[in-house]
């Protein structure tokens, strides 16, 4: 947003390998425009970007908010519905659910502070994920890993230093969740030495099966 531009005007002017950060951001915004132009995931995504002309920090925050809604709903429903949750899994899911709720609140506040309007929570359907603990933790791992990749992919397009710092403080917690869930699943806490970033379209494709509206 224009305010954050003014806060760090020098960022826009710095030349990096032939492109400026500003033009990189513009490129990101154009890519986002392409995403919601062709996306079939439903109105929530369009709403997320519509108010911010092709992405921008508020668009990114609303994108993140949607993912956090999804995660928060996942753990809430899982805690209600999975019948064979053992003590460790229950404790972990409870902790994570609380964190995701705080992310939702934090992002909503951040969007409002930046002059935007938080998107509404999507309607979700996680299919058979709550049939048993194994299924629950399996999809949890996918959601957390995807969350990490989504934030990492969006991070470089964030203009405001403050918003980037907030996104960073959330993604690190997502990564911690991912590692803990992976340990529960007897998987290594890392996939590789570098968490891969995903762009918005890739993330939307990944979560599409769970979003009903």
């Amino acid at each position: 947003m224009s305010n954050s531009n003014l806060a760090v005007p020098e960022l826009a002017a710095i030349q990096i390998d032939g492109i400026t950060r500003q033009s990189f951001i513009l490129r990101g915004a154009l890519a986002a425009g392409a995403v919601y132009g062709v996306s079939t995931v439903g109105p929530f995504v369009k709403e997320a970007f519509a108010q911010d002309e092709g992405g921008g920090d508020i668009g990114i925050l609303n994108f993140a908010l949607t993912l956090e809604y999804l995660e928060a709903a996942y753990y809430k429903q899982g805690l209600d519905q999975v019948s064979d949750l053992d003590g460790d899994a229950n404790e972990l899911a409870t902790l994570i659910q609380k964190d995701e709720d705080e992310h939702v609140k934090g992002l909503m506040a951040g969007i409002t502070d930046a002059g935007g309007e938080p998107v509404a929570a999507p309607e979700v359907d996680f299919g058979d994920a709550f049939a048993d603990q194994a299924a629950f933790l399996k999809l949890a791992q996918t959601l957390e890993d995807t969350g990490v990749s989504a934030y990492n992919g969006a991070g470089p397009a964030i203009q405001s230093k403050e918003i980037l710092a907030t996104a960073g403080s959330i993604v690190q917690v997502e990564a911690r969740h991912a590692a803990a869930i992976r340990l529960q699943n007897d998987a290594a806490p890392t996939e590789s030495a570098f968490d891969k970033p995903l762009d918005m379209q890739q993330v939307l494709d990944a979560v599409k099966p769970f979003v009903k509206s």
Binding site: E10, L11, I14, Q15, I16, D17, G18, R21, F24, L95, K98, D99, E100, E102, H103, G106, V148, Y151, N152, G155, P156, A157, K161, E162, L164, A165, T166, G168, S169, I170, V171, Q172, V173, E174, A175, R176, H177, A178, A179, A180, R182, L183, A188, P189, T190, S192, A193, F194, D195, K196, P197
Partner: protein
């Protein structure tokens, strides 16, 4: 660490083994190594961060034009070298731990082996990133860690990883190049994963700061690691 001094330019500012910054072969070796480590998509990030051969030319150092900001703001080269120092430290720590034979628990041993490998990959990637920015990678510090017992080692590992994650978080918003930022973020979350795994192993909460991780400043981090740096 490669010690090739192929064509050492006279002016070295920071140390001895930086000459591989002009060694194209070492860059290719690095790229091959990262690619071969099964990090295919991560590899793409570092191709971006390191550039391809086409723009691999000296005047890439325009990226370091923030040299003029010498006083207050840190340049990307400074930040990446700072991260590199921390990764050297972490790599040395795990290597010392593994060599000491103090870890007897099989699961912990596996974690330490994996993390040692990943920290080394971070070292290699960050060195290449400094070079890409036209800077010279700092030399590895000489380190010494108290390795008293398995329990103490685990605790120290958790401390170091939590600190590393906080360090990246503190530094990331100051990074100017989107490519370097992308690279730093991809390492940051891995440090967070390491920290969570070690917190689990030491019976601590995986999220010591709650739902929002706290950053650490460069000063805080350097002060915290000072006891482990001999030179």
């Amino acid at each position: 660490m490669s010690k090739q001094d192929t064509e050492a330019p006279a002016a070295t500012e920071r140390g001895a083994l930086e000459e591989l910054s002009r060694d194209d072969a070492s860059r290719k070796r690095f790229l091959k190594m990262v690619g071969g480590a099964g990090a295919a998509s991560a590899f793409a990030i570092f191709l971006a961060a390191c550039g391809d051969d086409d723009d691999d030319k000296k005047d890439d150092s325009t990226a370091a034009s923030d040299d003029k900001s010498g006083g207050g703001a840190k340049s990307d080269i400074d930040i990446v070298n700072y991260a590199l120092t921390l990764e050297y430290l972490e790599t040395a720590f795990y290597n010392d731990v593994l060599e000491s034979g103090i870890v007897t628990d099989k699961n912990i041993g596996e974690l330490a082996t994996t993390f040692a490998k990943e920290e080394q990959e971070h070292v290699d990637a960050l060195k290449a990133a400094v070079e890409k920015l036209g800077g010279k990678p700092v030399a590895a510090p000489e380190t010494k860690f108290p390795l008293e017992s398995e329990e103490e080692v685990l605790k120290l590992a958790a401390t170091v990883e939590n600190l590393g994650a906080a360090a990246y978080l503190g530094a990331a918003p100051d990074i100017k190049s989107p490519e370097i930022l992308a690279a730093a973020l991809s390492i940051h979350s891995v440090e967070g994963r390491h920290a969570a795994a070690l917190n689990t192993a030491t019976g601590q909460t995986i999220v010591p700061d709650g739902a929002f991780a706290k950053p650490a400043s460069m000063d805080e981090v350097l002060k915290a690691v000072k006891p482990f740096i001999v030179s």
